[in-house]
Every structure is written in structure tokens, then in C-alpha cells.
Amino acid sequence: MPSSVSAPDRVNDFVVKFANVNGTGSASANSLIMKTIFRMGVPVTGKNYFPSNIQGLPTWYEIRVTRDGHAARSSRVDIMVAMNAETYQRDVREVVSGGYLIYDSTWPRSTLLQRGDINVLGVPLAQLVNENFDGVRNRILLKNIAYAGVIAALLDLDLTVIDALLRESYGKKPKLLDSNSRALKLGYEHAKRHLSCPLPLHVKHLDKTRGYIMIDGNTAAGLGCVYAGATVGAWYPITPSTSLMDAFKGFCERYRVDADTGERNFAVIQAEDELAAIGMVLGAAWNGARAFTPTSGPGISLMNEFIGLAYYAEVPAVIFDVQRVGPSTGMPTRTQQADILLCAYASHGDTRHVLLFPANAEECFYMAVKAFDLAERLQTPVFVLSDLDIGMNDWMCRELKWDDAYQPDRGKVLSEQELASLDKFYRYVDRDEDAITYRTLPGTSSKGAYFTRGSGHNQYGGYTEDSTEYQFVLDRLKRKFVTAARYVPEPEILGGGDGKLGIVSVGSCDGAVREAIEVLARQKIAVDYMRIKAFPFTQQVETWLASHTTIFVVEQNRDAQLRALLTLETQVEKSKLHSILSYSGFPMSCDPIVDRIRASLAEEPRLSAVPAKGPR
């Protein structure tokens, strides 16, 4: 028996990975374990690596127990629960030396003894379940709960917590509750009897999750849309954005249906495609409703023409791009940040758009609200660039709070009275010299009537082919983008460095970057950190970039799109910007950041070792 991972330092600090087959109901078992650890007061992250398929292909779930509350995934696997024969080989390979492998010993496995450096624990799961339950499907489902029981014993999880969770899920279905509890006990007791429990790697009660919740970004964003007062949601289903609209719809059915009349204060329209979805959003927003559409890369590509219309005709719109791996259909169930440039400059002609970059589920909630305020204030499309990792995985974050004093910023919309006080209304005249003009809603009064068009128009809203009139409007639009920089969120800036060496990053890289900074700090390398929250870039961004001499840009794409945007849209000299890229499709871990920075500090040249062509 190989020596196991040395105990003391790893309590509440290790990774359990579950290898399953999708469509077999393993998700509930895995999140049961994750939730139990969370309720035991121990910070945890759960990452789901699933295939673009409905049933029968390999899927993994990775739980990181992290007493220090890291948000990123860790690249090491301490305990592997290998429930999928098909991926067994590579699953075994992934376990760290001294780690543990749990497998179903119902059938003997010759390939088992491949590795002498890990601890292999067999449990006859199928056998246990088959002896106690019947029904093919039923057995498949309960086998999952059974291994959850095994893990509970090995990790010393609190059975009362598990019990409570089971009641919450199956409270209304006593038979299900019973069978699940029994299956859990089966595994638990077998482990207690046959394995040395708990493992050195186990969970101990802490008090570090009070005031926190586990929620996925899409749910938080959908909830944000409800709180922001969005009434029209139009979409076309696409992974990984689908659950955002599901959440919005679910919450609306709970909060937006009149108890007496059954009347609904919302409309969710499943459009025929993304072109129609964005068209509906523009129509609704133009008509005075807060409207949005959730989508992913392919949807953004299809919306290009309409996005240009919204920019030029100045129609508000909120677009959630829950990014997945591109190009094209790419890997729909993997994460990436590769739509940054497309969203920033979407559509033909001279255009540019406002972007928000949430870093976690919590920000998805608040930025969703912010997005509507910005879209209506600036009368332009606003993109919320989330990604699959943020959107579909459960994130531990502070409980969401709402300020009842909040009033939506509906922007410059003239009421009938205000119109009456004007001698004449012109749609695109810059009365306040902030490059934002006044609009009116259909139905207000014929005095406020105007014509919205994507063809050449002058500041009075009239059709034009006159150069001067055309340029006058186009120049104001450019100025409006400068105004926008005054409204968007400032970056999050973390000191600690010498003010010279810094990291710039965005979105879901945040956890990995923060962890990297801690690791480097322990190695006496102090690094500053600026997390971009929005485009256009604010003055603070400029100042920070100017003051730092060596800047690492961390992002999840091949072509260094954030670096490109910084290069084009700030004064920074690109030679100062060094890319650290991850585009594997898996959430980023801190390792590549730590390694690259240490390496480059070791031997300067590396710093500028970047191919001649292309941004990165």
C-alpha cells in the first residue's frame, strides 16, 4: 500500500473528481456532496465537465474543497471516483501520486494494478444496489447515491446535513426519499465496514460559508433581469445560455404573475433564431420595455446586422453572451473568452459597443441590472460577457442583496408633458452636449413622432445623403462612447506589488489570478492586479496601465483579444503587455500564471518572446 498524501495539511483542502456517464443522474449525487461540504462551513467549488450530448458519453464533476476559499479550479486530483468504464484508463492516470481511486468492484478489473503509487479502493456498488433495489433505471440512479454514501464515509461528511438535503429535495416524494436514504446508507455502511474511514483527506466543520450561497451565473443573471424590471425576453436556445432564460422565466412565474387574474407581467418569446431574437429585443426596447436576449458566440455572429442598426439608430438592448469554445460550433460545453473583439466591434461600418465583464455569479446579478441602466442611459446595445464556467457552474458567493431604493435609469425619454413644453422635437439633437440625445416612445404623442432608420440620417432624424449631416451624427456617436466611459464600472484594483509589475485580467480568470498572486507572494514575488470590468476603458484603467512597466494580460482565448482591445483603446504601448493565454476549454487554474511569471522574471527575454505576427 503506497503512503497516502500526508494528512494534517490537507484536511479541507483537496480535490475529488467524479467520472460518470451523462444522462445517468449522477449530477444530483455529486451536488449532494458539494452542498454538504458547503453546509459544513467549508468553502468549495464545483465544476461540471459535460459533453455536447444527451445520454451515454463521459462526463466529469470536480469538487475542490478549499478552506482558503479559492474560486479557481485546481489542476490536481486527489480522489477519483471512477464510475465510467470507458474513461477508466485516463481517469486513473489523472490521480496524483499518493491519491485515491474509488471504483465499482462488482466486476474485477485487470487494468487496476497499473499504478502502485495510488490507493485503490473497491466497492461493489452495482452488487449492493442490485441486491437491494430493482428496476434498471432505478438502479442506475441509486448507484450514484450509493457512491455518495461511500464518499460521505471516506470524507467524514456530516450525515445530518446530508439527511436534511435529501429531505429538501425529496420531501414531497416519500418513496424517493426512502430509497435514496437507503442507497446512501448502503454505501456509507459498506465503506465504514470495509475501508479505513475517514481518509487523511477529509472534511472538518468550519464557519467559512456563513452569509454565502452557491449559485450559478445564469440563474443570478436571470434573477438580475427580473429585479431590473425587464419585461420582454427573446431568445433562441443555445448552450450555455439556455439556463439564463429558464431562470428568468422561472422567477417571473413566481414573482410576475397576478395571483387573482393570472395575468403575466412579462413575455418570454422563443424566437425562430437569433436574428429574430435580437430584432424582438430592439422592437420591445424601442417601444419602452426593458428587453434582453441571452445567447452564445454563434448567436452573436448572427446578430451582427441588427447590432449595427441598434448602434446607429440608437436603440437600447441588453445582450448576454455566455461564451463557449469557438470558432464556429466549436465545443459547446466548454468555456472560453473568445468573443471579446467581436462584441466590441460587431457589425460592418464604424461601430463599437459597451461591454460588461462579470467575474462570477454574484456579479452576474448586479451587472445584469447595470446593463439595463447603461443601455437605456446610452441608448445603445450593452453586452454582458459571461462564459460557460461562470454561467453554468455553481459559485460560492456572498448572498445577493437588493436596495429597495433602487430606481431604474430609463435614460432620456420625453414624457407627453415634456414634449408639450418643447416647440419642436428632434430625435438626434445633442441638447445636453453629452452626446446623448432625447427619445420618445410610440404612443406618447404625435408631436414626439419620429422615424427610426439604419440609413443615413441627420440630427433632426430626417433621411440624408449629405456628407456633413451624416458625419455630424457619426461624430456624435463617437463622442457618446467617451461619455459612456463615465458611466461604466471602474476596474477592480488590488495593490501589494511595487507598482511596476502587474496583471490585467477579465471575467472568470479572476479566481486563478488571485490564487496565483497569493502563490507568488509566498515566493516573495509581489504583483499588482487590475481586473477590467467594462469597455470602454475608464481613466483609472489608463492610469494603472501607464504606471506599470511590465504587465501580464491573462485571458482565455488564443488570440489575446483583451490585449488587443487594450492596445487599440488605451494609450498603453503594446510592448508592455505580455500575454498569458489559456484556451483549453477548461476553467483556468493558477499554474500557468505562476509558471509564466516566474519564468519570465527568471530570464527577461521571455517577456517579449512573442511571435512577430498577430496579437496574442
Binding site: 429585479y227 420595455a289 442598426l309 404625435s446 439604419g454
Partner: protein, 352 residues
């Protein structure tokens, strides 16, 4: 306006409607279309219909795509908001606008290119969704604004100005709409204002998606010998099966119709449509029958016009299906939309 002096849509007298508005007050900016373009006549019919309906200009919302036809929303009711969208995508704009405010009246103007080529998908789904609006296709068989290429409504054998002959089967918006279960389907001719005006009025009042396919000759690119969409050809192959009169709620029927050959359909706002069959064996309320009838006539190059099918009792209208609040969504007070801090506090339990 045009080089050959074209009279601005003119009206002899200036009588006022119930709102005290004259027809002129339902006009828009001056048309920039070619002299004699069928589209201008349709514009005139719309102006007439809105005036007769005592439509409050701010009550109307004008939507269109791109094309000569789509330009015309600028030429009527300047007191209404207008949205000139991108090519072929007006139905989605209309659907979104309608979702946001169910109280306004929506009129969408499109062309055969805008609707049947690039816009096909959105048109089909606006019909399926039964979005309450009048959708008017100004059908000339060509792409006018891009100088006369065949559109998908060009008939087999029809000849282009440059001589090319179309050999692909036409897409007939009327048959298409019927096959999709549209609840208001009509066809008319830009040259027949008497027929067109009541159809427009009924379409504007219909509770659901109302499609009117209006044959509207393009004098510049498709009005020549050999074209099947010319004034001459249309007049010759034009077959009115059904005259429709529109009777406003308060109004009482002036003429009385000989029993049997006239049917009355009540619209949701209390107004009525009186249908007078010009062809005895035709029933506009039976969709299947209507389809067969139209299709039969088309085989012999006959365009059946009039109110071809109406079904006012359908329950598929968008807001009916969605059970949307009577208060337009864009006017529901924010307090009723946001659940507030207490609810959020409560909700958080679910995620602990």
C-alpha cells in the same frame, strides 16, 4: 419627388373625421418613388383608411424593412412613430414592439423581396405567433430598389425587362399564409382603392396577424409586355371573389344586402366586416376550402382578390397565448416588476 411632375397625393375637399382631422393630416413626407409606382396608390389607400377609422396618429406604429415598398411608411401618417428596420427583418421588430405595448395599432409594410426571400423565416413565424398587426406586402414581382431582379413571387414564364424569363415556381404569400393557419388573409390590387380601403380597415382592426398581399406594379422594372405583374396583366387576370365592407362599431349598415349571399363577421372591437360573395360557391371562413379555391384559380393564372379568409375566433393571438397583463408591459410600474429585498432575502435560502 419625381422629375415628371407627379401630383402630391391630393384630395378635392378637406372634410374632417370624428377627431376633427383632415386627410392631409394623415399624410407623410412627399414620396420619392417613381411616377406611377403602385406603392404610392397603396399609400393613398392607407391614408384614406386611417382617416376613415378616426385613427389617432400616435396610436399607430409604422414598421418596414428595406425596399421601395418599405420606404413608404415615411409617406403616410407623419404623426406616427416609424421604424425602418433592416432588410427582411421587420416582423421581429414588430413582434417585439407589440409584446411591449399591446394597446397600439401596428402596420408593417413590406415588399415581395423583403418578405418572401430574406424575410421568409420571420414572416412565417410572425404568422405562427399570430402577432396582432396588419402586414401588407406591396407585391411587384421584382426587387425594385436594386433595379429589377426577379423576386420569389415572379411567375413561371414572366419576362424581365432585360428579357430574361423566370422558370422557378412563384411563392404565393396567400397560399403560404393559409397553409400556416393565418387568421386574416386577403389579396388586392394597388389600382383598386375601393376594394383596398375596407380591407386595410378590417386588417387594422383584426385581433391577430392580418396579411394583405397587394399586387402593386413596378412601372420602372416590371410593367412591360411579357410581365405577369404589369398593370395590364393584373387587370386582366384579377378575379374578385369577395367584396368586404367595413362597418365601425357605432355605425349602422347603410345598404341592406340581399340575404344569403352576404355574411357578417364581428371583430373583437365590435366593428363588423360584411362579406359579399361574388362567387356563390366560396366560403371565406373555411380555410381549407379557401385554399383549394385560390389554388385552383391560380392554376389558370387567375388572382383571386378580396378578403380570402378570416377567423376572428382564434385563440392563438400572441398576448392571449402569453396571458399578458392588460396593462401594456412598458407601462407596468416598476414596483410591480421588482420583487424587492424581502423576497430576495427569502429566495437566498434556496441557495444555502
Amino acid at each position: 419627388m419625381s422629375f415628371i411632375n407627379k401630383p402630391k397625393v391630393a384630395h378635392p375637399s378637406l372634410p374632417k373625421n370624428a377627431l376633427g382631422l383632415t386627410r392631409r393630416q394623415y399624410e407623410g413626407s412627399m414620396s420619392t418613388l417613381c411616377a406611377g409606382c403602385g406603392h404610392d396608390s397603396i399609400t393613398a389607400a392607407i391614408i384614406e383608411a386611417c382617416w376613415e377609422l378616426d385613427m389617432r396618429p400616435e396610436q399607430l406604429v409604422k414598421l418596414s424593412g428595406i425596399g421601395c415598398s418599405s420606404k413608404t411608411t415615411a409617406y403616410f401618417v407623419s404623426g406616427s412613430h416609424g421604424f425602418n428596420a433592416v432588410h427582411g427583418r421587420m416582423p421581429s421588430i414588430a413582434s417585439g414592439a407589440n409584446a411591449a405595448n399591446r394597446e397600439l395599432t401596428y402596420i408593417g409594410i413590406s415588399g415581395d423581396g423583403d418578405s418572401l426571400s430574406i424575410g421568409m423565416g420571420q414572416l412565417v413565424h410572425a404568422i405562427r405567433r399570430n402577432v396582432s398587426m396588419l402586414y401588407l406586402i406591396e407585391n411587384n414581382g421584382v426587387y425594385g430598389l436594386t433595379k429589377g431582379q426577379f423576386s420569389a413571387s415572379a411567375d413561371i414564364g414572366s419576362q424581365a425587362k432585360r428579357g430574361e424569363v423566370n422558370r422557378s415556381p412563384p411563392i404565393d404569400p396567400v397560399l403560404l399564409a393559409l397553409s400556416l393557419g393565418a387568421t386574416f388573409v386577403a389579396r388586392s390590387f394597388s389600382g383598386d382603392k375601393a376594394q383596398l380601403v375596407p380591407l386595410i380597415k378590417a386588417g387594422l382592426r383584426h385581433n391577430g396577424f392580418a396579411l394583405i398581399d397587394v399586387l402593386s406594379p413596378c412601372v420602372t422594372f416590371n410593367d412591360h409586355e411579357g410581365s405577369t405583374k404589369s398593370y395590364t396583366f393584373t387587370r386582366e387576370h384579377y378575379h374578385a371573389a369577395m367584396e368586404a365592407d367595413f362597418v365601425a362599431p357605432q355605425q349602422s349598415i347603410s345598404v341592406d344586402y340581399p340575404l344569403g349571399e352576404s355574411t357578417e363577421v364581428q371583430l373583437h372591437d365590435g366593428s363588423r366586416v360584411i362579406l359579399r360573395k361574388l362567387d356563390a360557391n366560396y366560403d371565406p371562413t373555411d380555410r381549407g376550402a379557401a385554399y383549394a379555391y385560390i389554388e385552383g384559380k391560380l392554376k389558370h393564372n387567375e388572382y383571386v382578390t378580396g378578403l380570402i379568409h378570416i377567423n376572428e375566433s382564434s385563440s392563438t393571438e400572441f398576448h392571449t397565448v402569453n396571458r399578458t397583463s392588460q396593462t401594456p408591459l412598458n407601462r407596468v410600474p416598476f414596483e410591480r416588476l421588482t420583487p424587492g429585498s424581502a423576497a430576495l432575502e427569502k429566495l437566498m435560502a434556496r441557495y444555502r
